[in-house]
Structures are given as structure tokens and as C-alpha cells.
Symmetry: C2
């Protein structure tokens, strides 16, 4: 796809988002589609990380990406151009997060094909997206080295709701004071079960374990 479609998402009218999120997950389970919710600060490298991972997984799975942003369609265009998978842009109309109903609007605008894996890139924000269950099977967050070690202390909920924490931009670790063991300790304080994978999306370092984690997740979701 050269031109990507931009979907204007309407604000959810559902008060009971949790219930609606469970319904969406049940539907995804029935369809054997794994939905992964990716959250982080602005500029932590969500799109670059996804591009790397998708290029490792696209021969194994049919994949689509939904890029949520307040404005602009640069991310969906980047994903489509660099990976060739189906990508749509969701405009949130100023909203700072996506909930399950908004996610459903995005899914309904995919082209009706079956996908094994759909990746939702949430709005870049460590606060609000963590508060709303999107209906995804699991959530991951990316913490980039230049942001500093203290993010799990300051944004506790984000780390509590994510099964996987990717530490990105480890190629820049030399010029920032960043101690991976220390940040692992902070993450464990918030969520002892969270898996932590350090990568460099820029250089491609250590992308394989991240792709393997997602691959296992998708296969387990289809099977059990």
C-alpha cells in the first residue's frame, strides 16, 4: 500500500469498557487473531521496533498494523513502506488513549482478511493508555534509554499492565547514565512477572528474542 487509509475514531459511548474489552478478546480468540497493544512515551521507538519485528515475522504470520495518533499519518505510511504489511492510521481526534470500543472501530476498518497478528500502536503517552483495556490479548511497553531509569517509579500503572517491557536504544547506552540492572529492579517492583528485553531497533541488536516472544504468544493463542 502506498497511500494508507486514515480512520477518524469516534469517542467511545461505552461506560463499561472492561466488559466490552472482554467481548473483543473473546471475538479475537474465536477468530484465532492475536491483538498486541504497544504503548510508550512519544519518541521511544515504537514504529522502528515494530518495523524490525514485522520483517522477522511476516513470512510466518499474516499481519496488520493499526497506528493510533492524534494527528498525522506518518507512522502507518512508514510501516506500510518498510514492511509491506497492511497498515491503517487511526486518528483519535485529540483523545489521549484508545479503549476497546475505539479499537473495535479500527478492527472493523481492516479489510476483512484473516490476520494471525494485529498490532495496535497506541497513542504515545505513559499515563492514559495504561488506564484503558483495549481488548488486546496482551500489552507491551517500550522504555528508551534516553528517557532514564526512573520511569517505572513515575508511571507505575503502565508497568503493572504490561506483560513485556522492551528497553530500546541500547546502542546509546554509552552516552546516557542508564543501568539496565537498576531499571529491571524498578520494573520488578511494579510487576515481578514482566519480561524485559533490551534491544536496539536502530541497529537491529537483539530483535530476535522479541520476535520469538511474539511468535510464541501468537502460536499459544491459536492453539489453546
Amino acid at each position: 500500500m502506498d497511500e494508507v487509509r486514515v480512520i477518524e475514531i469516534k469517542k467511545s459511548v461505552f461506560a463499561a469498557n472492561e466488559l466490552h474489552a472482554d467481548d473483543l478478546r473473546a471475538e479475537l480468540k474465536k477468530n484465532k487473531t492475536y491483538l498486541l497493544n504497544v504503548m510508550s512515551s512519544p519518541g521511544s521507538g515504537k514504529t522502528t521496533t515494530l518495523t524490525r519485528v514485522i520483517n522477522l515475522l511476516k513470512d510466518k504470520f499474516s499481519i496488520a498494523v493499526m497506528e493510533a495518533d492524534i494527528d498525522s499519518d506518518v507512522d502507518a505510511k512508514t510501516i506500510a513502506r518498510l514492511t509491506g504489511v497492511d497498515a491503517i492510521q487511526l486518528h483519535t481526534g485529540g483523545m489521549c488513549h484508545l479503549d476497546a470500543e475505539m479499537t473495535k472501530q479500527g478492527l472493523d476498518n481492516l479489510n476483512g482478511k484473516h490476520y494471525d497478528l494485529i498490532i495496535l500502536e497506541n497513542v504515545g503517552n505513559l499515563v492514559c493508555p495504561a488506564e484503558f483495556d483495549t481488548g488486546a490479548v496482551k500489552s507491551m511497553t517500550i522504555l528508551s534509554v534516553p528517557e532514564g531509569e526512573d520511569k517505572p517509579l513515575k508511571y507505575p500503572l503502565m508497568y503493572q499492565v504490561c506483560s513485556l517491557v522492551v528497553i530500546n536504544k541500547i546502542d546509546a547506552i554509552g552516552i546516557f547514565d542508564f543501568d539496565i540492572e537498576k531499571v529491571k529492579g524498578y520494573i520488578a517492583r511494579r510487576n515481578p512477572d514482566a519480561k524485559v528485553i533490551p534491544i536496539s531497533a536502530k541497529t537491529g541488536e537483539n530483535i530476535e528474542p522479541l520476535a520469538a516472544w511474539i511468535e510464541n504468544e501468537v502460536n499459544a493463542w491459536k492453539e489453546d
Copy 2:
């Protein structure tokens, strides 16, 4: 101050935040106190930048800092330890932004001294804080080099409401693809009147023009 006070901020009951923000500004004007609202992504270097600036200005003005965070008191402690000025921590109880009423709760918890300059470090978030007028005289935002050039495209309102954009971490420009002229063009698209100052809070490079901008602002507010 060794131990900093932590203030638990209650959610605002005011629907008409804009009106309340104007009232707060009028009160600040009467008291000849300049309130600066500082916003950015998590980890862009707000606290380090403020530490540098305050150390250049603290002999000229009486200064206080209010650090807003969802949790933790690390920022207020850092400011107090590294600058010696009065600093309090505002806990937002999960809220993703501050409005004028919440800002007023913070101001009421300062110790009653007269301050020429009060700096409000807002919650690290490019979305919600931009939507709420805190009652500050002006707002500034910090964009750090590792976040990338496209932030003014993706988070338009933040750049529309800020009079000053500080580009931080320019010491890291060599290892990130970041073109300052390009980002200046994107900022100008959102806000042609915004002033842009590139700095490195880590090395101290170019902090003087930033301190001078704030000094002029504070003096103009007291005089006119």
C-alpha cells in the same frame, strides 16, 4: 530542604477551567509572581533543565518549584538538593494533567513567602496537559533529540499552546538522525511565534539564552 513535602492533589470540581485559569493569572499579576508551566514527554529532561536554569537565576529572583507526578517524589527532591530553592511535589492521583484549580491547590501549599518565579513541572505527557490551561503566565515545552523530529506533527496542540520550545540533549545529536532546521520548520507550522532554543541540560551548553528568556519574562510581568 532535605525532605520535600508531597501534596495529594484532588481532582478539580470546576467545569469552567478557562475562567478559573484567568482568575489565577490575575491573582499572580497582582502578586507580581510569574508562573511558568513546563511540559514535555516523560524523560525529555525537564528536571535537569530546570536545575540548570534555576542555578543561573536564583540570585536574581526568589524561586519555587512545584513538581507534578502521578507517583514518586524524586523530582522535587532532586530540585531541592541541587538548587536549594523551595520545591514541593504534587501527586496527581493518577490524573494525566493539571488544570488551574489543581495548580491553585499547589500554590496554596507553598509556604506563603513571596516568589518572583514559580515553575510548575507538569505531568510528563504531550497530550492532556496541553488541553488544560493551568493559569500559568506562559507555557514552554521540551523536545529532546532522541524523541525525533516528528513530534510537532503528531502532537500539534502542545506546540500551539507553548511560547517557547526547548530542544534538549543536543549533545546526543551525532548518534540520532535529528535535523534542528527541519524541526524548527515543523514547530513553525504549528506556531509561527514560538521561540526555539536548543540546549544540552547535561553539559550546560546554551543554558544562558534560556535563562535570559525567563528573566525577561519575569521582569516584564512585574513591570507592565
